[in-house]
Symmetry: C2
């Protein structure tokens, strides 16, 4: 039997306990005969939980118990989560997490620490919830150079766009609906400011390109400025607005990575991704485009991805770990300012030369939407100097 400890009894942590033990609605009897849940670390009391007997409040109990060989970290953040992860790895215990912030900022060091102590650090659930993406990216596409990653990585932002388009409600109201449905936190900034997408893109890029791309090297723009008028202009040119994380490999070994809302053509499979679903398009030099699609968040999908990693770690599978990332390469970070795209521009008045004009019935007096020719952002900004600009959104070609 492989004994497992779960750190943090929140949404994901409790889901992991349910999946491992089979105590929960729609669960298998037991996910794997090999696994036994021994501890749950939480400072709170859960006297009525079916797992009441497992609770401990002191991490050192887990750290010092030689029976525990896999630790699941679902605390989140980079405080206690980092401390406990380091201590568990140093004690030779493998660690499985869904904590994208910790992986995006300290993943490389923690993978090295794991290797030094004969343990494994796994984090499939940190990107795309229950969608298998990190392992396929790392293994099944081993014969490819990855040319580009482009994904809808945040279900909350995508849910907000879907409500705006389908129900015609403005951003603020769609966000309140997301909060009421439990999709968005009371402080929604990680979702709507793009930080969550940025962290996931950092992890994807690091696996795809083999060196640790840090979140603060990824320029990030959120969705709080998107209006119903922007959505109407998008529909007028058969496009949908989606928050995308993109990382593009240059021929010179550089990577241009950024997070921004985009106009996405309805012909593109990413345009049809609705509600809280995520989709990640990976372009390989040999395979071409491959897309992974599914629920990007939620208690049980995320828990199932965590537990699949726990099974891999428990079986001490030789190649369970990802290919180790090299160190960060500041010189290989290409500026997004050099990336040429078409642009959607909405002007309160005046005109924009060399652009396709978009019209919507509800446009204000003198207002127009435009789709420009392809150009880098600095050139666009120059062209917009002195104009009354209401919106600017990049177009995904």
């Amino acid at each position: 039997m492989v004994k497992v400890a779960v750190l943090g009894f929140g949404v994901v942590g409790s889901g992991v306990a349910e999946v491992i033990t089979g105590k929960g609605d729609g669960m298998k009897k037991k996910v794997d005969e090999l696994l036994e849940l021994k501890y749950i670390l939480d400072v709170r009391d859960f006297p009525d939980s079916p797992f009441a007997a497992c609770f401990v409040t002191d991490f050192s109990v887990i750290e010092k118990d030689p029976e525990v060989s896999v630790v699941v970290e679902t605390i989140g953040g980079v405080g206690a989560a980092l401390d406990f992860t380091e201590r568990a790895l140093k004690a030779g215990k493998s660690v499985v997490t869904s904590n994208k912030e910790l992986v995006a900022t300290h993943g490389r060091r923690l993978m090295d620490l794991a290797a030094e102590h004969g343990a494994i650090y796994l984090f499939e659930a940190s990107v795309g919830g229950g969608i298998p993406i990190l392992r396929p990216l790392s293994e099944c596409m081993a014969a490819n150079d990855i040319l580009e990653i482009c994904g809808i990585l945040n279900g909350t932002a995508n849910y907000i766009f879907t409500r705006m388009v389908q129900d015609g409600v403005p951003f603020e109201q769609a966000l309140k609906g997301a909060q009421a449905n439990g999709y968005a936190e009371q402080n929604p900034s990680a979702d709507v400011e793009g930080y969550d997408t940025c962290r996931k893109l950092s992890i994807l890029s690091s696996i795809a390109f083999g060196w640790h791309l840090l979140p603060d090297q990824i320029p990030t723009k959120g969705i709080t400025q998107i209006t119903l008028e922007d959505e109407a202009y998008a529909a007028a040119c058969r496009r949908r607005i989606k928050l995308l994380g993109r990382a593009i490999a240059g021929e010179d070994g550089t990577v241009c990575a950024y997070v921004e809302p985009h106009f996405v053509s309805e012909e593109n499979p990413l345009a049809g991704v609705e509600d809280v679903f995520n989709a990640i398009m990976v372009k390989g030099n040999v395979t071409g485009d491959v897309m992974f699609y599914g629920r990007g968040a939620g208690k049980l999908p995320t828990a199932s991805a965590v537990v699949a990693d726990v099974i891999a770690a428990a079986r001490k599978m030789e190649r369970a770990g990802y290919q180790p990332w090299q160190e960060n390469r500041p010189a290989c970070v290409a500026s997004v300012d050099a990336l040429s795209s078409r642009w959607y521009v909405r002007l309160a008045e005046g005109e924009l030369a060399d652009s396709e004009v978009l019209t919507i019935p509800q446009a204000g007096e003198g207002e127009h939407g435009y789709l420009t020719q392809a150009m880098p952002r600095p050139q666009l900004e120059k062209a917009l100097e002195g104009k009354k600009v209401l919106s600017v959104i990049r177009v995904l070609d």
Copy 2:
């Protein structure tokens, strides 16, 4: 260095040679420092090939060479391919293949044979071309009971449907176009009669449910009867016709698997899969729906999947093999006759009670399309007795 032998220098085999050596357009220099192409087995002469020095015509040269540790079988069929695969495995060499017919009919036995001789039998490329699907299904969804698999598994059939809808050409002409473009063989029956989809569904089901479901246990219906009028009726109810392989797990441990064209709602992500693309939807009890999408065939996508398996085998990765399948379970095969669905029915005359009526401008005098209530096929056939039936197609709910 791990020495590799490729059996069969056809489309996929030559692609594998190019990807391994990096000798080909858009290739990396070399996919993996570890790999060296030592032999190519083919009865034909290729004096001008960059691999000319590698060719042999006698399999026993490869079989007896202790330096060769991985054999790639891209011969196809179940004749020489089976013989060489068995001999290679018995010699302790791992075998990687894209041969869906061989895996679907003999996969279980060959996996056992591999295990007996300390080798691995891998076949990611046999389903979905370059889309990573078998390994994610086998590993990443380990914490799930698979409830259903539903996929567009044959790119040729899907290309034909796309041409019929987009270009308004009838089946025969669309098929000729597919042949002209190299998508369909001169004898296209494996594609258009559904056998290819059937074999891939056999492999997916065996991995998903853990026991070997044989192709002849999967009732299979092709697409040769589909007309432009059927496509028009599908469009009239906002659906698309797709050839689907489906396997549904019953609560009693049975599996209902079949291959048929379906009316698929435009809301379903499978409806938007066009041209030669494949998409496979997997429903897990914990993860919910997950979809894998990409080019399902083609020289280089398929070759890249083969080579990813070669790398896994070469590194002798402990868990590179799939979870072994149990023996076939005839008692667990549920009849598709019991599966209740709505149906599209086209009648030359007469009416169909309790059904939604569909109309298209080009309908013949007295002709109508219908969408029935949900019922099993035998009940539908009873309701259609004595009527002039032009088409019947299952609706995917």
